[in-house]
Symmetry: C2
Subunit: 779 residues, 2 copies
């Protein structure tokens, strides 16, 4: 009972038995089904659409085209409303688009009685285009005369350029788009080029939603991670008051950030409104989910850092050119998150320069995806650290330990002072459990006499911010309602997307109130008409921010119970305490009453004196803080050089997420993140025809994600620190585990082969090319 | 905007277009369907049940019999929990019964894939009984050696006997069951016998529910009027914690009190639990709804009142023998409500005696039904008033006016002091609009020369308590949640069953907060996991009690908005007021901010100083008060004497329900109540085979309720008083309109024909018999 115990997931039985209802399970009987008509060009303009044949198909109820939708732009990203116009999300989307911006863009929708009929009719829609050349990279797009969006005529969506002085002052400026190796045009910062590709979250539940009306209320059920923001975006898109939209978020089958955007909710909403409020549903196929939702930003990076002879960092430069895809979605936020992180891991004495650009291109829109830009950045940053160490003959671990962030570090951007830095401990623990020092030597020895199979051990570390304050507001609300039997119901606006937040938040309530977890119900859905406000699941914020709300509200509830007991039993409140769902006399330990007795009395007394009360507590928690989680991965591999194949022998992952609230779930997060990180490192990459922009492998046959069979042996550890701003000393944990895997594997490959890979994924094709180039094998 | 306006129903569009979802609309795809196996005897014991053949039928998943269910008794009535054991509801029900107590009792249940398969299999269940003689009346049942329930061996469920002294003191005692005309055995109180039959509410939506499990949570969706009480009763019945039950109450298609009891929710819950949580649904047929839910108590009454020569009441005696049916349900509460009301309408100088008994019999269980015993009582009481007037040659209106309750009246039982008695005004208004004085004379004149067609005008009045305090707790909670756009969501635990409470409660919020009704959403469902507590829809309490909660909470919200604005804009709170969804400076009338601006700021400000707040208000209202509604019906009729047919020319209905909050809805309630009262007066009566107890007319072909074609012309009026204990001066309105119709028609028949009918319904059969007996026509 309470925190720091491996309490069984509160949704375990539901998810294991199938009783948990997902969006598709909830589509009303008799609902109509929508199918999008998608562009078959990547860049151009819809000249006309002929729906005559389509309307003749069986079961068709409605066809809307890009000529029929409201002509005002709305944002899709799932950030809380910012009152600062500089932080407002870019409004660049229409519900259906005449201006086609990627292959598969939404140009019309067909609504029919069955999904099949909708698809068959959609195939009969005839579209005439004016076709432009696809602009698939930032290089091609930025400053191309073919503008993708009027609001950014040069196709550069956003920039963030700054110089950090040795004293830590940040000067922002505006650079020009560049692909030159010279970072900021400086001769002393000639960068090395790294690149990472586009990938998809591949959450198990494909995106889907349905909408219907009751009176003036548009009710939208969606597997969205940020239901309160979704509500606002739908209202914006359709042009109706926020209060006329009700979003219901049921159980969710994974999201990883992909479901942080508004997708097809406005279109099903609009269709329902045009059909007298009849339910209209859309469920994306896996193929659509790959490219018609959101993807991870592909980054081109120029990086250059330097260390002095003592191994102390002296200089740091990085340019990121980020491929934002067709629509702004999370805009530049992901890129900005990444560029700043390059200046947060390691103490650097000299100048530090960051330049970054996010471009509109004719590819699927990039947005949030587990790690929010840091996995991309870390691949370059942590690879470079090993390159510097190797160049200088330093042990990569020793080298890092000389430079890593420690307690007292002042974040140059947010100016917050780090007070729970477990980075050092993580690295030391990883070094020890991975047998680093012995293996580094032993493998060097082994590799001398082995040409085909090479052994290596590599590592990488990271820091990752929990929450997004002060860029955005960080707040959350919670409501706890006592039942007459002393059980309680907890409502949060936070979103369980598999990470286990419902369980950990339940443990928090239990910890504060002493009510056992199996007597608490954390309402597993969000309904914007009844749920307290929360900005949702992102930035690994839920145990940290929503947890703050839960703790604060549980304390309010506890105090209310104490106050009520004091009043009912006419005892001084100071003499009372709680334990085991009871009010006790502090001194004697005697039970004054059980919660059940107290709540029953308060709800039902008819003593003609007492004002009854259905005991509840509700409050909003405002976090004006932020913190870093840390971690490291040590990865032991073998490389089959001629085959270009990496075999992972073992992953040793050590994390500092502050206090660990549920060890079993926390270790589970590490395992999941490691798997996803391995996928990112070794295989995942969305491919597009370079001439047409057409997706080539948007299915799970051609786009391989690691399966259970691909999982190596994994050892996971936590180095527990206590973060004073966390509700229970805890920090974020959901996203980080993915981050260090790709650079750690890359550094292990470097150790094994001497070849420093600078491009993900490290699939056999890319590795063989690199090994040929390095002369390890012949072409 | 606000109260006292005919605001359109908030559920108008939903109900008119069919987008409002009822229980049956919500049954999950793939749900299993339950069919009850019902006893084919009215009194006896199930000796054995053979399910072999039934289990061989297609689609059968589960059969539970009375030998398989938990062996502990639970109550079914929908009262809030009473902490006073004297007011606890009787626990006398098992989920399935071996001891058969009425024809159609629940002895087994079959669960199959379709309703049809469940029914076909149910027909194959073979039951062996030990058969006893049915005991169909209190007379037959009380003191019969064949006990129906162990807890009441003599079949008398409960008694309430008392004598009110001329000073108004009440002495309670215990009488013996009696059918003797002498009330309390007194020679000076020789009663006249009145009887009223069993009827069914005939709500449009038949009773139904379904249950399924998510984890340990049993989720039950039911069209029940009292979802919070239902939750407790289900937990009791199955033997699981209250916190493990979640009740969802969607839109409801009428209830009239019938849905105030726990019916088949425990059985579908138990079946789902036995089936691994799969959804199990039951939808009663109309035939089942008639007899397997709840009915109105049939009363046998001996009544005797006297007036002195001045027409002042001097004495009052009444005995009610009430037919409670097979199970306690609302126990004696209905009868007790009725017996006490006989001493509340008219000031009586001398002794007043009431004796009442409720018997277990082998008929369907009687419980709440619009009027809760008062329609029965009023038929006798108001008929007798006319009989006394006729005997003495007094005008019935004048006679009543001499005796009616007035402001300052002290209720002998509850001791509350009446302060908003509009009875006099109602009677005067009715007299005037009905043209009473002229018609009484004119019809007397007409009838002298007409034998076949007789004309008459009659009237009856009533008083009806709003709420049930102090017998039971009266409280309710409400939560109001501001949205960022200044709209708000309102949650109540109160139940909209067609009476319009959701609309009126919305108007109340609008009145206090100035937010327009079309920018308020009153959440149209109740979910015990998220809705505030309310004891539900009964006793015409919702605008009075739940309205108190809504008003109190809206005021809290208003004060919170003012306080937040004062703090944000650094202004003294005393200088601020609200209007039109804005905060204003009181003096200048200048807008300080709109609610939208304030709520957006409070939810989303990131000014590094302000604690954000998702602005909500929630509170529980405790009512330690009660009040009377009053009303009168004047009914103008013609009687076709040989045919025994009453034709109603016009109904003039005048009510005092305090302040009228929504005139259109209020008049609608009167129309509905008049229709139901006419049905009660002229035709409705559930018939049973007197030998077997088998229902004879439990369908809408053989049991006629008035249709639109049967509705006479109706004029409705309100005499508005101001009830100080009501949130806006208002009093109950839902049940009363039914009450006076039957006695008013009866008194009109008396006026027309000189024959005083003492038995409902006044259908042609009964009237012809009475007219023959009176010598008006020949046999």
């Amino acid at each position: 009972m309470g925190i720091k115990k491996s309490v069984k997931r509160v949704d375990a039985v539901q998810k294991a038995t199938g009783s948990a209802k997902y969006v598709e399970d909830l589509i009303p009987v008799g609902a109509l089904h929508a199918k999008m008509v998608r562009s078959t060009i990547a860049n151009g303009i819809v000249k006309s659409i002929d729906t005559t044949e389509a309307y003749r198909m069986p079961g068709v109820e409605l066809i809307l085209t890009c000529f029929d939708v409201p002509n005002h732009l709305y944002p899709t990203s799932g950030h809380p409303l910012s009152l600062d116009p500089n932080h407002s999300d870019t409004k660049d989307k229409l519900i259906l688009e005449r201006r086609v911006r990627y292959y598969g863009d939404d140009i019309a929708v067909v609504v029919a009685d069955t999904p099949l009929n909708a698809r068959l009719a959609a195939e009969k829609v005839v579209v005439e285009y004016e076709v432009f050349e696809p602009l698939l990279t930032p290089e091609a797009a930025v400053n191309n005369p073919c503008s993708l969006h009027e609001i950014r005529p040069n196709n550069e969506l956003s920039r963030l350029d700054f110089e950090i002085s040795p004293g830590g002052d940040v000067r922002f400026y505006n650079a020009e788009f560049s692909t030159d190796p010279k970072i900021a045009g400086r001769d002393d910062l000639i960068g090395v080029h790294y690149s990472v590709p586009t990938m998809n979250a591949c959450h198990i539940e494909t995106n889907g939603c349905f909408a219907y009306m009751e009176g003036r209320k548009l009710i939208v059920c969606s597997c969205n991670q940020v239901p309160h923001t979704l509500r606002r975006n739908i209202a914006d898109a359709i042009g109706i008051p926020v209060g006329n939209v009700r979003v219901i978020r049921p159980y969710i089958g994974g999201g990883f950030g992909n479901k942080q955007d508004t997708m097809y909710e406005p279109i099903v909403g609009l269709c329902s409104m045009k059909l007298g409020g009849r339910p209209v549903a859309i469920t994306l196929t896996r193929e659509e989910t790959f490219v018609n939702t959101r993807v991870r930003h592909a980054f081109d990076m120029m990086i250059k850092s330097e260390a002095d002879a003592d191994g102390k960092m002296t200089k740091r430069g990085l340019r990121i050119n980020s491929n934002g895809g067709a629509y702004a979605a999370h805009t530049h936020a992901v890129t900005a998150y990444a560029i700043t992180n390059n200046f947060q891991n390691y103490l650097t004495s000299g100048v530090q320069i960051g330049e970054s650009s996010t471009a509109y291109t004719n590819l699927p829109s990039a947005a949030a995806l587990r790690g929010y830009g840091i996995p991309q950045l870390s691949f370059a940053m942590e690879s470079e650290m090993d390159d510097i160490a190797r160049e200088n003959g330093w042990d990569p671990v020793d080298f890092r330990l000389k430079n890593i962030q420690t307690d007292g570090f002042v974040d140059p951007f947010d100016k917050f002072v780090v007070s729970s830095c477990g980075m050092h401990g993580c690295i030391q623990k990883g070094r020890e459990v991975s047998d680093w020092d012995r293996k580094r030597k032993a493998y060097d020895e082994f590799n001398k006499s082995s040409d085909k199979i090479k052994k290596g051990i590599g590592m990488a570390c990271f820091s990752y911010k929990t929450g997004v304050w002060p860029i955005q507001i960080e707040n959350a609300s919670c409501r706890i309602m006592m039942n007459e039997d002393g059980t309680a119901t907890v409502q949060v606006g936070a979103t369980e997307i598999g990470q286990g937040s419902d369980t950990v938040l339940t443990q928090m309530v239990s910890e504060i109130t002493t009510i056992a977890e199996d007597r608490l119900t954390l309402v597993p859905f969000c309904d914007t008409d009844t749920s307290p406000y929360d900005s949702g699941a992102y930035a690994s914020r839920q145990t940290y921010i929503s947890g703050g709300a839960v703790k604060q509200t549980a304390e309010l509830l506890r105090n209310k119970l104490l106050a009520r007991a004091a009043s009912v039993y006419d005892l001084p409140i100071e003499s009372l305490t709680i334990a085991d769902e009871r009010i006790l006399d502090k001194e004697s330990g005697q039970t004054v009453c059980t919660f059940a007795e107290l709540c029953t009395f308060m709800n039902f007394t008819n003593d003609h004196v007492t004002e009854t009360e259905h005991i509840i507590a509700e409050s909003t928690f405002t976090a004006q803080s932020i913190c870093f989680s840390y971690g490291v991965s040590f990865i032991d591999i073998e490389v089959d050089v001629p085959l270009g194949k990496v075999k992972i022998n073992k992953v040793y992952s050590v994390h500092d997420s502050g206090q660990i609230l549920n060890p079993a779930l926390a270790h589970g997060q590490l395992h999941g993140g490691i798997a996803m990180g391995i996928g990112y490192a070794l295989g995942e990459q969305l491919l597009f025809d370079q001439k047409t922009g057409k997706p080539l492998n948007n299915n799970l046959l051609d786009y391989k994600i690691p399966t259970a069979m691909d999982m190596p042996e994994v050892e996971t550890y936590f180095v527990e620190t206590y973060e004073p701003t966390g509700p229970f000393g805890n920090k974020g944990l959901a996203e980080p585990p993915l981050i260090p895997q790709a650079p750690a594997i890359r550094n292990a490959v470097l150790h094994a082969t001497g070849v420093g890979i600078r491009k993900l994924p490290m699939n056999p094709q890319n590795l063989v090319h690199a090994f040929i180039e390095a002369g390890l094998i012949e072409a």
